[in-house]
Symmetry: C2
Subunit: 405 residues, 2 copies
């Protein structure tokens, strides 16, 4: 196991219990030994459930199944079943069979409709999922369901993650306290859309399913779709959110709730970057002055995904020439002579050249920090975008050259 990322939060947060949801975990031995690798969540009747998924053309069997079940609708009791170690992706008809077997087993044990059982799998692609090992643990999982099980669930869904990821918020709506709690896993194969990962969000807010779906999609675009580790996009990316309504606070159109949800999602998204495989630097890339927001996003992602920028960062080299290169290749409109670049507050380049007051010493000093901001102003118009990424290190190579072998 690689050591915990130096960019990890100091500790796992206290997550509030969400009325209407219970969790359990188990050691099914899908691939990993001596650790939990399955989590079950039971969601009370009447909850709204929404989801956002990978856009990959080779989506996994559980993703396709979740999408079909969400499209079918419903508000009966529901369950989430998630395993780590095997992604059940590119496993042909057998993959669909595994999803059906798991859904049926959970539905029978919990006495609910199999169409309300959402499964996710994360890990190796292309190996048959030994679903019978998970089925054998359904009794134990069902017996273990408890409101306080979310932190343990965050650990059970980890693969190459070096720390579990959780975030929460409380907000007052119409005089009632509304709680949001979420967990995520993800570390490599992280890029929009969507930034890899599995993400599960729970709230006791009341909101209709279509409104929740729209809110979730919009906030995903501002959070998980703004991170990149290695530009690779998973076949399994899944974000599911359940709103139980137990708080009796209607959050439809609540700005406060939207902000709280945004913060939870951004926190989790940034934790995924902080756990980027081999990462030693957390980098915010801010682009302003673009012809459009879409152009700004192109530039930000070109910088954030550039292997040459990412290796300069691990080398603590203020190599702004590589930033210029990435701007140039992005495909966005740019004018060499209007471009300015800042590392933190250090103005590095402007007017088509190195800034007169810039010194390599100032740049090199700034690059020593573990948390960096690279800002590019294109000087053309008002388009802007922010993206978060990490550096590309020997650790990434080691993890990915040896993983699975």
């Amino acid at each position: 196991m690689p050591p915990v990322s130096p960019l990890a939060p100091a500790s796992f947060p206290d997550l509030p219990e969400i009325a209407g949801v219970r969790f359990a975990t188990a050691q099914a031995g899908v691939r990993y030994k001596g650790r939990t690798d399955v989590m079950l969540a039971e969601i009370a009747e009447g909850a709204a459930i929404a989801g956002v998924f990978t856009t990959s053309a080779t989506r996994s069997a559980p993703v396709l199944d979740c999408q079909a079940k969400l499209a079918a609708g419903g508000d009966g009791r529901a369950a989430l079943l998630v395993n780590s170690g095997n992604s059940n992706a590119f496993t042909g008809r057998a993959g669909e069979g595994s999803v059906a077997a798991l859904s049926t087993a959970v539905a029978e044990r919990l006495g609910l409709d199999a169409g309300r059982v959402f499964t996710s799998s994360t890990g190796v692609i292309g190996e048959p999922l030994p679903h019978e090992r998970i089925v054998a643990k359904i009794d134990e999982l069902a017996d273990g369901l408890a409101p306080g099980g979310l932190p343990a669930a965050a650990r059970a869904i980890m693969t190459t993650d070096t720390f579990p990821k959780g975030a929460s918020a409380e907000v007052e709506v119409d005089g009632k306290i509304v709680r949001i709690a979420g967990i995520a896993k993800g570390s490599g194969m992280i890029a929009p859309d969507m930034a890899t990962m599995l993400v599960y969000l729970f709230t006791d807010a009341r909101i209709e399913q279509p409104a929740l779906q729209a809110l979730l999609k919009a906030q995903t675009d501002l959070t998980f779709n703004c991170i990149t580790v290695d530009s690779d996009t998973s076949t399994s990316d899944t974000l599911l959110m359940a709103a139980t309504g137990a708080s009796d606070a209607d959050v439809t159109d609540s700005v406060a709730f939207t902000e709280a949800l945004h913060n939870v999602m951004l926190d989790l998204a940034q934790q995924v970057v902080r756990d980027g495989e081999g990462a030693t630097k957390f980098v915010e890339v801010r682009v302003t002055g673009a012809r459009s927001d879409a152009d700004a996003r192109k530039v930000a992602l070109a910088i954030a995904n550039s292997p040459l920028v990412k290796t300069a960062i691990v080398g603590e080299d203020p190599n702004w020439g590589r930033v210029v290169m990435a701007v140039g290749k992005s495909g966005a409109e740019a004018d060499r002579d209007r471009l300015s670049i800042r590392f933190g507050d250090v103005l590095v380049a402007e007017n088509g050249w190195r800034a007169p007051g810039y010194t390599e010493a100032a740049g090199a000093d700034y690059m020593k920090q573990a948390e960096l901001v690279v800002s590019v102003d294109l000087g053309l118009a008002g388009g802007m975008a922010t993206v978060w990424t990490c550096d590309l290190t020997h650790g990434y190579i080691s993890i990915n050259a040896d993983y699975r072998s």
Copy 2:
């Protein structure tokens, strides 16, 4: 200096002299010490000169200058002046001044029009080019011009290259022998369009400039625009070709000449990949069965640029799941259940799953080779594309985290 790439050709080829072109090199000390870093080529009157350049929005001063001079046309005596160590990119107005100073110095010394002096610079971005060091060597260069100087020129233009790159061909057209000889440099920041690099091609064929330009562009799309090392695109990519006509063989519409030129360009392009920074494996990615050639190219580049595929390759891991992932993220039309994947002749996956006869042992055994072919058939239509790349290794990180520091 890193050791010579294990994928390098056994030796530098014998390059024929091209009537009408003379070469010289010198040690100007632009950045490197104890080696040549400038090359001058003199091209006889009447030659057709064509060029293909980077599409970057932050193109370097010499690239912009070359484009303007080619657009202006002309057929007087001409010169190429190339330095390594500094790319004169993102150097503002000073960069344009350096180009002008170099062009004027060469023009005066050789007695030709400054509008016929084409300069290139390769190396660090954003540092002012100490052009006076090159100007100081113009006399020495002019005195040293000789027909046999092309191999030495190949060495003078190297930056992080671990070996000089040359290729040549001879072909009979209308009973006359036509010769082509070329050199290239490039190792990192290699992606279409164009695969980084500087490339200079010389032939004694006779061809009008517009025909040469069209031929060069078409062959670039089939060669240098089909290679990728790290998906980064340089601000300096330049490919220039001069046809002196000295053979008196008109090659307009000559299939034999086109094929010979294609072979020289593909040879040089593949040498650039073989010198990919830190590369230990040379990989051909063949995509067939796509809805269109453009879709096939998207899939091939998605595979060739995927950090997860490239790290699996250095790890000699037949991780075809990552190939599936890359197909899925490419944006091209794909159907999981029609896809098939081969590593060399080993059928790995078909019908949406691992092939029945596939064994990990067979896959792992194949991956041990230094030269690999990854083939994907999408099973949809007749679109196809081939791309060449290399693996992503600790060597790449070391070179790029430390370069310039």
